[in-house]
Symmetry: C2
Subunit: 346 residues, 2 copies
């Protein structure tokens, strides 16, 4: 039995309690400063107020002030924050992590840099480690189609764990595999993480076709050719991007790319955003309808488009190879209406 400390008690940080507890490990769930109410309620009743499910028996709950207690003696730390919590994790948590205890992260995204480089989160966290800890903490990450609700409900799920160290990955796999949570391991951090990030961007694009169908032909329209076309075009561009950044593009035609894109189109706010844009509203209007929330998908579209533009200026890529992504950027950042540029996909 291992001791697993999860930092971040949001949807996915909490969802992953399920396989960890099912395997009999000790679970310590630590809320971020934004998770106070979640932890309070869970402590009192075992109920997760946003997942709207009872958390597994035997989980211990900690507020952020108790993080050192929660980390003492842990064999594994799971970083359960969203990309908007990454900077906080780097600032507040990296300094208190213990040596030689690996990290497994559910955070999805990429960081852009002025020269058009895009950095994965495991690489970023590695770079942000205090000098004294460099090389002593392994950062791993999870990719693939897995919604937190469904993990909590023990639906059959295939995921990838990626990281530098194959032995560490094999250990993580043995720790978390259950009869419903199936883990493939890969040392291709770039390949997996670029898929994980991009699927949010492209899910906006595919979902536009759902709104467009309703706008053109009404709510009961049978209209799937356009969705399917955008799905195929998304994977085509994802393949190019993964290759450009040095990952194995076979991951696109698999669980981390196509699988994760597929599940993202079926629900959640990213689908809702694409749907609204496809119905013909501007991004500003859609954002208001989504209560002003900025989605991870919007951030990734913006960052990747900026990176491609920077690289295009340097002559390193042709932005015309990414017509769907550049179109999404125009819709998000220039207020363009979602008139899908079908001709550019030929």
């Amino acid at each position: 039995m291992a001791t697993v400390t999860i930092i971040g008690a949001g949807m996915m940080g909490s969802g992953i309690c399920r396989p960890v507890r099912d395997n009999g490990h000790e679970v310590r769930l630590v809320g971020t400063p934004l998770d106070r109410d979640i932890i309070d309620e869970a402590r009192r009743t075992g109920w997760h107020i946003t997942l709207k499910r009872r958390l597994p028996e035997g989980v211990s709950y900690y507020q952020i002030e108790e993080v050192s207690t929660a980390l003492a003696g842990a064999d594994l730390v799971i970083c359960g924050v969203s990309s908007f919590g990454l900077e906080w994790f780097a600032e507040a948590i990296l300094p208190v992590l213990l040596l030689d205890v690996p990290v497994l992260s559910v955070t999805k995204g990429l960081l852009g840099q002025a020269d058009g480089a895009l950095m994965t989160y495991p690489h970023y966290l590695e770079n942000r480690l205090p000098e004294s800890k460099r090389g002593r903490i392994l950062f791993n990450a999870i990719g693939g189609p897995c919604t937190s609700y469904e993990l909590m409900d023990r639906h059959q799920t295939l995921v990838y764990f990626c990281g530098r160290d194959a032995a560490c990955l094999a250990w993580l796999q043995s720790l978390l595999t259950t009869d419903y949570y199936h883990i493939t391991i890969s040392t291709d951090i770039v390949g997996v993480e670029v898929c994980v990030a991009l699927k949010n961007a492209y899910a906006v694009g595919v979902s536009m076709a759902i709104g467009m169908a309703e706008r053109i032909a009404g709510p009961d329209a049978y209209m799937y050719n356009p969705q399917a076309a955008l799905f195929g075009q998304s994977l085509r561009e994802m393949t190019r991007l993964v290759r450009l950044l040095g990952g194995d593009s076979d991951l696109v035609a698999g669980i981390p790319g196509a699988g994760d894109l597929y599940v993202t189109i079926f629900g959640g706010r990213t689908r809702r955003l694409g749907y609204l844009l496809g119905k013909g509203v501007t991004y500003q209007e859609a954002r208001e309808q989504l209560q002003g929330v900025t989605l991870e998908s919007v951030v990734i579209i913006t960052r990747v488009a900026a990176a491609l533009r920077a690289r295009a200026i340097a002559g390193a890529v042709d932005a015309a190879d990414f017509p769907l992504l550049m179109f999404l950027d125009r819709v998000i950042n220039e207020g363009a209406l979602a008139e899908i540029p079908w001709r550019d996909f030929r």
Copy 2:
């Protein structure tokens, strides 16, 4: 303006009338011996009895006895039969085709051979040409996500045309491209056609998760992780198969592979078959519920599994690299229940 003769007045043969007529070409639609009622009614009223739509103005209709008249002076022949009509097309139509008039085919499938070879339909038709015509008729084919209803309704659609000859493909592209029908051309016949065929097989697999979700959690269940996992696994195996047969596997993460698989999951009898199997009935029971019809998807599962077994015996492949396809074969051909082998996908 060109003259286009379509042979086969079923769903897709008729659906493709739309872009051809929209571009102002003369269209001659010839029914097979199975299409008599379709042609009779279309001639009388312009109504297509199975597409349940009015055919475009200006199409001329021919019964099979009039095929020579319909072929005289044609610039292009479109083969509009399903894979069950292919043998008929080879027997009855190849001998009456005129020299130097290319063929464009909508037929989806692969032919298996005892040694584990799998042959595309364009190659098969080429081989079946009478000696005197060899090399004088170019066989091209269409792949990608395009349902006949939606083509008839002018929904935005992306397809691939494949064939040996780039100049002929460019001509076909110029002939059929409209502002809703977008054509990419490729000389990779094997790559495109293997995707086209396999998507029917794997759509059964993904659709099983839909029936399974309903069986486990009821009709309103939110359960997409398993579908997404099977979708990703399908593309993983399709990538391996396309490579094995010598095609460009990039087509899998694109329009002909992922795009076409996606659209196939959203409707039609292949989805229905997978759904029924996922609900827990045997293939025999599912087949009865489908009025005893044998689907193209079933044929392709059987042929590809047989080919893989033959190659595995020769030591050329490991059937364990195709766990989903081999599982589908057990369900179809050995009466196994659809208990999805999740562990094998790790």
